[in-house]
């Protein structure tokens, strides 16, 4: 996922729901072929899944792969907000 294009592909799918490689390539400064390769990696990782719709293949984010981790990291971020608030309260009141 160090590849920024791959992250862009995932971000766009997360934002727009399902999309085809052709549609994704229109939004990104890369070829359709490159998008297809990134989608293959994302599919293999279980982050996205392909689904045939008529003549097109649509890809969609697999929320369950992301949800547990997202929930955990959101919790980590929220804990830091609480700790920073506690630090501020102590520093400001005493």
């Amino acid at each position: 996922m160090a590849d920024p294009t791959r992250r862009s592909v995932l971000d766009r799918l997360a934002a727009h729901g399902a999309a085809s490689a052709t549609a994704l390539a229109r939004d990104l400064p890369v070829t359709r072929q490159a998008v297809v390769q990134h989608l293959a990696v994302l599919d293999a990782a279980g982050l996205t899944a392909a689904q045939r719709r008529g003549r097109e293949v649509h890809h969609r984010v697999q929320p369950e792969a992301l949800t547990a981790t997202a929930a955990w990291m959101t919790r980590v971020a929220a804990q830091w907000d609480e700790r920073l608030a506690a630090i501020a309260a102590i520093a400001e009141s005493e």
């Binding site: 994302l42 990782a45 992301l66 997202a70 971020a77 830091w80 920073l84 630090i87 520093a91």
Partner: protein, 147 residues
């Protein structure tokens, strides 16, 4: 910074005061919600945090640059040593500004965490590092929404 969580606040107190609250054993448990803390405030020093119901969290102090920078590696799981693969880096920076101190915390290294054991087989079968990719994707997403 794609594998980090960044949070920031402004404290209406001088930098030296915020530094004390951040680094002294008498204050650490209060903002960590722990029973007690011990800290050897120098690079390589031990930092421990004890919770009655969870046990003891272990961390190792990394950088101490009073009063602007304080960082430590801490173990993800209570009771574990803060070794590579099982730890993240927490770094506080303090900046003096009008009205007080800007306090920023960055927790990083999520993508270097070892995968949970129950998922390792699944990933081995598919020859992908999905755990890391999930972490990076989520961190990238969160870094776009943090303040």
């Amino acid at each position: 910074m794609e594998d980090s969580i960044v949070r920031e606040t402004v404290v209406a107190a001088p930098v030296d005061r915020v530094w004390e609250v951040l680094t002294r054993a008498e204050y650490l448990p209060r903002w960590f919600g722990a029973e007690k803390a011990e800290i050897d405030l120098r690079p390589g020093g031990a930092l421990t945090m004890t919770w009655a119901e969870h046990g003891t969290g272990l961390a190792r102090v990394e950088r101490v640059e009073e009063p602007t920078l304080f960082s430590f590696h801490w173990a993800l799981e209570v009771g574990d040593q803060p070794v590579p693969g099982a730890r993240t880096l927490v770094e506080f920076t303090l900046t003096s500004e009008a009205g007080g101190t800007r306090l920023r915390v960055v927790e990083s290294g999520f993508t270097s965490l070892d995968r949970p054991a129950e998922k390792q087989q699944w990933h081995r079968e598919r020859n992908v590092d999905g755990w890391r990719q999930v972490l990076e994707a989520v961190a990238a997403h969160l870094s776009g929404v943090t303040t």
